[in-house]
């Protein structure tokens, strides 16, 4: 009933291929944006911003980057965490070398460093495929994290070996650093995420996106119809690493405030991969759904024992958390291997034809 498509006639192919062929989709998106831009900032407190809203956005952005590589271009990567690290360290160096540089410009530029590293580590994908490539990306993961630790220039030779975000102002507002307000940071991240999502939606719908998909589905066939595999794979690595790098810069500058090399180690890569898998590979929406689940689940679990009045130690909660996340992943894979995005697609289809079964 809510999704009745009766009367929405298409008179051209162009209209049929529009971003929102059904009007209700556009309304729904508008409604979600309204909540994200107006309702949530007005109602959320500091804890909700820092534990839920900003992490969801940052992780969703990182997952979006990985999804372009894995879900659209079919190149499995386990090195996302390290590429986020490249973005973060590049941004840190830019901000400390050029203190008067606008933070938006610094973050946008830091993505290019990550993209360059991504392309370099993407080169083996021209020869190596499947799980061999996945393990090859682990080379990037371990090498880069080692480099973050050993190359003192990256963290300006400070004794802690960690990077500290200084206070950064933009148009008179502190957006990053210890003095920044969470709501300002939230708006900043939200704007960046919306912008990049808009860019990603359009790039994946267009010519480049179709090239990626054909490489994913069968790269030899794609090559035979005249697609330049090298260009296709490397462009996927570049775009993906760019987005992941920006997510990494946001991760440290707008959320964590400080970072040490361990932060970018393999668990981070896996967390982003979980979001992609649970959300749905080859779907933009899936990244957000997956990020909400993966970020919110631990927070919720940590509240359950307190709410039930059970005396459970924090270490126990953490272990339970790991267990439940593992079980959830298995459960989701069994119930819906194509992820939450497919689940939404099924629900939407049912809503469109409701109350009829077919």
């Amino acid at each position: 009933m809510l999704y009745r498509t009766v009367g929405q006639f298409k008179t051209s192919y162009h209209a049929d291929h529009a971003l929102f062929p059904v009007k209700q989709d556009a309304w729904l998106l508008g409604f979600i944006l309204l909540i994200a831009f107006v309702v949530l900032p007005a109602t959320a407190n500091e804890f909700v911003f820092n534990a839920l809203l900003i992490p969801v956005l940052v992780y969703a952005l990182a997952a979006l980057g990985l999804n372009i590589l894995t879900g659209y271009a079919g190149q499995l990567s386990l090195g996302t965490g390290a590429f986020m690290g490249v973005g973060a360290y590049a941004c840190y160096k830019l901000v400390t070398i050029f203190p008067e540089l606008n933070i938006v410009v610094a973050i946008a530029l830091s993505g290019f460093f990550s993209a360059a590293v991504g392309v370099a580590f993407g080169l083996p994908s021209l020869r190596i495929k499947g799980f061999y490539l996945a393990i090859a990306t682990l080379a990037a993961q371990f090498f880069l994290v080692w480099l973050f630790e050993k190359w003192a220039w990256l963290y300006n030779y400070n004794s802690s070996g960690a990077i500290q975000v200084p206070n950064i102002d933009m148009f008179g507002l502190t957006v990053a650093g210890p003095n920044a307000k969470a709501v300002v940071q939230y708006y900043f991240v939200l704007c960046v995420v919306c912008l990049i999502t808009w860019f990603a939606i359009n790039i994946t719908r267009g010519r480049i996106g179709r090239i990626w998909k054909s490489v994913r589905d069968m790269d030899i066939a794609a090559e035979l119809v005249g697609i330049n595999l090298m260009k296709a794979k490397l462009s996927a690595f570049a775009v993906s690493s760019y987005i992941v790098g920006v997510a990494g810069a946001l991760f440290v500058f707008l959320w964590r405030g400080a970072a040490e090399p361990v932060l970018f180690d393999i668990p981070l890569s896996f967390r982003v991969l979980f979001i992609v898998i649970i959300g749905g590979m080859g779907s933009i929406l899936g990244n957000y759904l997956g990020a909400v689940l993966i970020v919110a689940l631990p927070v919720l679990i940590s509240f359950v024992p307190g709410a039930l009045g059970l005396p459970v130690s924090s270490a126990m909660v953490e272990h339970l958390n790991t267990m439940i996340v593992g079980a959830t992943i298995i459960g989701f894979l069994i119930l819906e291997p194509h992820g939450l995005a497919r689940l939404w697609a099924i629900i939407r289809e049912k809503l469109v034809i409701w109350p009829f079964p077919h």
Binding site: L76, I135, L138, F274, M323, G326, I329
Partner: protein, 319 residues
């Protein structure tokens, strides 16, 4: 020139200058390599028979070792604890097959790989709740593993070899020999290889997929227990052991995902080379701790020349 000298000449001069130290380094590398090979073997067995890239092999090592030590702490005699641990690993194999793998038959490789990461997380949480997160000591003496060291003096130098390392190497050789005999001679072993060659053909001649999967996961569990005992005897039993699972991945790349021989050769090669690199190049020139990435980078370079690894099946692609 000075730089080239420090990369190309000095390390080899060091090696030739102190051959006893070199021997010691080679032995340490060899022992590490044997352990990498054992873990890689667990991966290969499961990959061969089911095309599942089993990420959980590393945590199975930890889990098996923790169960063994935990049972012993509860007062079970060591020699009884071993078969009990094997029983636990068998139950684990059955549960994994029933709960995780059976509903996921015929899904893409990627999904099954993710499921094994799910298993990993579950076992980490489960293991920490039951056994606690702290480091435990492997029950080396109770299992009659000798702990002394053998010392001898080649080239007028001094080399010390720990007896438990010798036990590890001998144990690994026995395990591999037994495994190869099992795979080549027994009916079940042949069924495993048949399944590895062609799923549908194997099913059509009456090989039961679920039985073989349980069997393969159980064998992987046995390998995990052996690995856990020998590695635990060297470094103690804790969840830090899980990182050695990552060490097995470049071994797999190097040796090829389907090859038992590749896992062994790759494991030994990587164990020795990463030790040599760390001692002679890593520590003097790069600030050390290069063992975290050397194996991966090395395997990556080899793979650029042989995309299927040294012993992997040739990748033939058809449209």
């Amino acid at each position: 020139m000075d730089f080239l000298n420090s990369i190309l000449v000095k390390p080899f001069a060091d090696m030739a200058g102190a051959p006893d130290f070199l021997l010691q380094v080679l032995w340490e590398g060899l022992v590490a390599g044997v352990l990498y090979a054992l873990i890689a073997l667990g991966f290969v067995l499961i990959y061969k028979s089911s095309r599942i890239f089993n990420f959980a092999q590393g945590i199975m090592v930890v889990f098996a070792a923790l169960t063994l030590v935990g049972l012993h702490e509860k007062g079970v005699p060591a020699l009884l604890a071993v078969p009990l641990t094997l029983l636990v690993m068998f139950i684990l194999a059955v549960v994994i097959e029933r709960v995780v793998l059976r509903p996921l038959v015929n899904q893409p490789d990627m999904i099954l790989f993710m499921a094994t990461i799910g298993i990993t997380l579950f076992l980490v949480g489960f293991g920490e709740i039951i056994f606690g997160g702290e480091n435990k000591v492997m029950i080396t003496e109770q299992l009659y593993i000798p702990t002394g060291s053998i010392e001898f003096e080649p080239f007028g130098g001094f080399v010390s070899i720990e007896q438990k390392d010798v036990t590890a190497v001998v144990g690994a050789i026995l395990l591999v020999a037994g495994l190869i005999l099992f795979l080549n001679r027994s009916k079940m072993g042949r069924a495993i290889r048949a399944l590895g060659d062609d799923h549908q053909a194997a099913l059509s001649v009456g090989i039961s997929l679920s039985t073989i999967w349980v069997l393969v996961w159980f064998i992987a569990g046995v390998i995990a227990l052996v690995t856990g005992i020998v590695w635990g005897a060297r470094a103690g039993v804790s969840f830090a052991l899980e990182v050695i699972a990552f060490k097995a991945l470049p071994v797999l790349m190097l040796g090829g995902l389907e090859s038992v021989l590749g896992a062994i050769v790759g494991g030994l090669a990587i164990g020795i080379l990463e030790k040599l690199f760390e001692i002679y190049w890593g520590q003097p020139l790069l600030g050390g701790n290069t063992e975290t990435w050397f194996a991966f980078v090395f395997a990556l370079i080899v793979l650029l020349f042989r995309p299927q690894g040294l012993f992997g099946e040739r990748i033939i692609e058809r449209v």
